[in-house]
Symmetry: C2
Subunit: 166 residues, 2 copies
DNA sequence: TGCAATGTTTTGATTCAATCAAAACAACTG
DNA sequence: CAGTTGTTTTGATTGAATCAAAACATTGCA
């Protein structure tokens, strides 16, 4: 590793390093790299982040990425989402309480704003004595590309997931 | 296996075998056993179902349980739910579109009726071109037991999952 | 009632995602 | 600039689920 690339941390311009430091974490090259990729490609798996990070920081290990992500989610600057049938995805934590829509054919994920300003069906009717802290909505459907692919070819859809009828 | 226990399928009284046959599947002892346990203990993992089924049907393998569950979900008489941080859970498919509330401390799962008769926030505001088929709501909170456990002991909650702030 | 065809279950191996533990190492504090 | 704390690496391991092929049972049909 020529000239210790892994230690070049503090020389970043601004915001990324700042938001890491602001959350009480030490600033390191792997963390900067992961946060940058998280920004450029939200809803990435740990493996995908690893592949991209490794391109610019060859010494990085997959376990380091997992470690960085654990630190980020613990510190509240990243969020882990786990759609059924998919490995965990990560995105930078943003203030709003948005949800996700997942394509059942290709797995593409997009953000969806919460329908009403104040969370709508976040207060279930019968909580069975539970105290509710969070409500999480996942929408399942077809992304534009897969709609086109299905309507043009008459081949079988080969769905990524087999959700029960709603 | 004395007198071929595994083949005693058709002699069940009624409803279980009927609902298997009604969905176009062959009736077998492992399927009857899995469906019975699914009825008695909803929200069970495959492993848990396997342990219970094996008690009454010793020759059954874990893979058989997975196979039965795949057949059931494919035929629409069982539903697979996959809460973040937990292995997949299974329940008998019922007509209503209910959701689930999960205890972040002990993992207990309960059913929650959809707040309004017609699904409320099942129509997101910006679908980004997606066609929405299903909306899935998961509530996270504390079950009554864990609320009591936390307020009585001042020990650390040791949460099962670390959800981001909502 | 018995036979054949189809579909299910078993057996064994394998994949994928994620986590654990300890040693080597680097970032921040003073 | 040195020490302390915390991070990263290395290597192994777990857990959940899936795959493939052979053995077997259920159902429909004669």
């Amino acid at each position: 590793m020529a000239d210790n690339e892994r230690t070049r941390a503090a020389e970043q311009p601004g915001t990324l390093a700042d938001s890491i430091r602001a959350s009480g974490l030490k600033v390191t090259a792997p963390r900067l790299a992961v946060l940058r990729v998280l920004d450029q490609a939200p809803h990435s798996t740990a493996e995908r982040l690893f592949a991209t990070v490794r391109a610019e920081l060859p010494g990085t290990s997959l376990q380091a990425v997992y470690g960085v992500l654990a630190a980020f989610t613990g510190a509240g600057i990243a969020r882990k989402i786990e759609p059924a049938g998919s490995p965990a995805l990560f995105e930078r934590q943003v203030g709003d309480n948005h949800h996700h829509i997942v394509c059942t054919r290709c797995g593409a994920v997009h953000d969806v704003d919460c329908a009403v300003g104040e969370a709508p069906c976040l207060t279930p009717s019968n909580t069975a004595g539970f105290t509710v802290h969070t409500a999480e909505v996942t929408y399942w459907g077809l992304c534009p590309d897969c709609q086109a692919a299905i309507s043009s070819t008459s081949s079988s859809p080969s769905p990524l997931l087999n959700k029960g009828a709603q």
